[in-house]
């Protein structure tokens, strides 16, 4: 089972929301679509789901061209950002409705809903309405509905964005366990680079309707193909030195080191992060962020340097890797 997008384009009026988009998600692979809002990632997801039609290009699911196939026949398991549970139905009815209209017999329906409720530890909530559930419980119901769909592809649209930070951490392993263990391709839309790095095998960074770079989290981190990807991936954000003869140098905060030779800096303040500390420095090359072990005590004025192989160089006008 896999998912292939070829030369996908979608426009509203004369404005292209996404264009010339090629994407392949393999069997059991989780691909994150990462980008700022308005970059076309949600549109791409809706095109895969069949909720929207592309103006050009084709979509293939499990070897079959589904470009003009209706959403229901594409067999998509989708989790919406708002979860989109039917508010007037109980949890049980929410899960059973789809099975019912797809013609599953009542006894079979009951058995399948019960087993997925047990899997998601929702048995006690079967008779509740969505409004009576917490955010995390709603997310689990939405996930249960996607599982019941027995889908060929999972599409997750910002599934964690309505949850608080603690709950996200708790739910990540569960999500990984339930969905990523299957053989279906998973497309995970998020604007949170941390979440994308934690969940996805590969990340496609999107910008203005195009894929800026696609690769494993490690590839994007160590080898960003553009200034945009370099600054979008990795927190604290990468340091950009002012352009010199058309080239911008970029160094990650953790690659800066104290040295006897280098750029003289003044310490503005420190953020203690536990095992490490983030130093905000002021230099004649602009402000710099530096990450170092928290045991090191830092004097007021220091000199910093970095190993040359850790330096990224980008073309100042195009933003592309030099």
């Amino acid at each position: 089972m896999n998912l292939i997008l070829q030369n996908i384009g979608r426009r509203f009026g004369s404005k292209w929301i996404v264009r010339h988009l090629d994407l392949e998600v393999g069997e059991g692979e989780c691909l994150a679509l990462l980008g700022p809002s308005g970059c076309g990632k949600s549109t791409t997801l809706r095109l895969i789901a069949g909720l929207d039609q592309p103006n050009e290009g084709s979509i293939t699911i499990a070897g079959e061209d589904v470009t003009t196939v209706s959403p229901v026949d594409r067999r998509i398991g989708m989790v919406f950002q708002s979860y989109a549970l039917f508010p007037h139905l109980t949890v049980f009815a929410n899960l059973a409705l789809g099975l019912q209209v797809r013609g599953i017999a009542a006894s079979d329906r009951k058995r399948r809903v019960a087993s997925v409720l047990a899997l998601m530890q929702l048995e006690d909530l079967a008779e509740r309405h969505p409004a009576e559930l917490s955010g995390g419980q709603r997310q689990r119901v939405a996930l249960a509905r996607a599982l019941l769909r027995d889908p060929l592809v999972y599409l997750l649209d910002e599934p964690m964005s309505n949850l608080d930070a603690q709950l996200r951490e708790d739910l990540r392993p569960q999500l990984r366990h339930l969905i990523l263990k299957g053989s279906q391709p998973v497309v995970y839309v998020t604007h949170d680079q941390h979440e994308a790095m934690a969940m996805a095998h590969r990340i496609a960074v999107m910008r203005d309707g195009k894929i800026e770079q696609i690769g494993t989290p490690q590839e994007l981190y160590h080898n960003p193909s553009s200034l945009f990807v370099a600054s979008f991936i990795g927190r604290p954000q990468i340091n950009l030195l002012p352009a010199e003869s058309g080239i911008i140098k970029a160094i990650r905060p953790e690659h800066l080191q104290l040295s006897s030779e280098g750029i003289p800096c003044r310490l503005v303040y420190k953020e203690w992060l536990g095992t490490s500390q983030l130093l905000i420095l002021e230099s004649n090359r602009g402000p710099l962020r530096m990450l170092c072990a928290s045991e090191i005590s830092i004097p007021e004025t220091i000199k910093i340097n970095w190993p040359p192989e850790k330096e990224h160089q980008f073309d100042a006008s195009s933003g592309e890797r030099y």
């Binding site: 909720l51 998509i76 789809g98």
Partner: protein, 272 residues
């Protein structure tokens, strides 16, 4: 602050309820007591007015029934057309919807009394006179603009992800309406239905001109007949009794559906 508010509420209540209470009082008074309310009477209270109205030929419940038939007919017909119309308008492009809304608003504001002569001509040529259910056609037509506008805003307020989730689950258009959308716009549907029913219940000029057979009259026309039944006196008591009886079913309807009506009318006013 609190006390002032209570005072205002009392004044408003008196303002709106006083005519109704007066009607109720009148309906239980003898004719003499009504003409000389301050004088001594050996009999002030009576049920005669109600007796007179209920035992007339045809009996009063017959008119009630007629009005209920017309009301149900027009309400069903209106909803049957307005729900799909509002749903479609919620799906078309903003510009088309805006033009449609503008036209609907114009139609809703048009004084319908200007239409009733033309409607009478239609009734004559299509032979729709003296037919209760035929009365539903103009009523549904006249209620349609308002009904579509109300239901349109209800459909608009539903998050689009709900319908998309239903599509992915395999619900076709009819199933989505039946299982997801119509239940969710229930409050708006209830308040729309009440408004249409109310219009049909109170409508006078069309009912007067389309219906001439005594046993097919609707309430407003029948009540007007009671008022005009005698040349030399106005039967205030019977008139009041008839309006009280005519208001009861509506009161019942509003009491049953009051929660839906309020939440339907305030829908979209506050973002959840």
């Amino acid at each position: 602050m609190m006390r002032q508010r209570k005072l205002w509420i009392t004044v408003l209540l008196l303002w709106s309820l006083a005519p109704l209470l007066w009607q109720l009082y009148t309906s239980f008074c003898t004719h003499e007591a009504l003409l000389q309310p301050l004088a001594e009477h050996n009999q002030r209270w009576t049920l005669d007015n109600y007796r007179q109205v209920l035992t007339a030929n045809p009996p009063f419940w017959r008119y009630l029934l007629n009005s209920v038939i017309v009301g149900i007919g027009s309400t069903s017909l209106t909803l049957l057309i307005a729900i799909p119309a509002a749903y479609s308008l919620s799906k078309v492009s903003q510009n088309v919807a805006r033009v449609a809304k503008f036209i609907l608003l114009g139609a809703a504001l048009f004084p319908y009394v200007l239409l009733f002569l033309a409607l009478l001509e239609l009734a004559r040529s299509f032979n729709l006179g003296n037919n209760l259910l035929a009365l539903s056609f103009p009523y549904a037509g006249l209620s349609m603009p308002l009904a579509v506008l109300l239901l349109l805003s209800a459909f608009r307020d539903l998050p689009s992800e709900l319908e998309e989730a239903a599509r992915l689950e395999g619900l076709d258009l009819w199933q989505r309406l039946r299982w997801v959308l119509i239940p969710l716009i229930g409050p708006a549907t209830a308040s729309t239905a009440i408004l249409v029913f109310l219009f049909s219940w109170n409508e006078y000029p069309i009912a007067l001109t389309w219906i001439s057979r005594a046993d097919l009259l609707t309430l407003p026309v029948a009540i007007a007949r009671i008022a005009g039944s005698s040349v030399y006196s106005i039967p205030y008591g019977a008139y009041a009794a008839a309006t009280v009886l005519g208001a009861l079913p509506l009161l019942l309807l509003v009491l049953i559906f009051q929660r839906q009506i309020v939440s339907g009318l305030t829908q979209g006013a506050i973002k959840g």
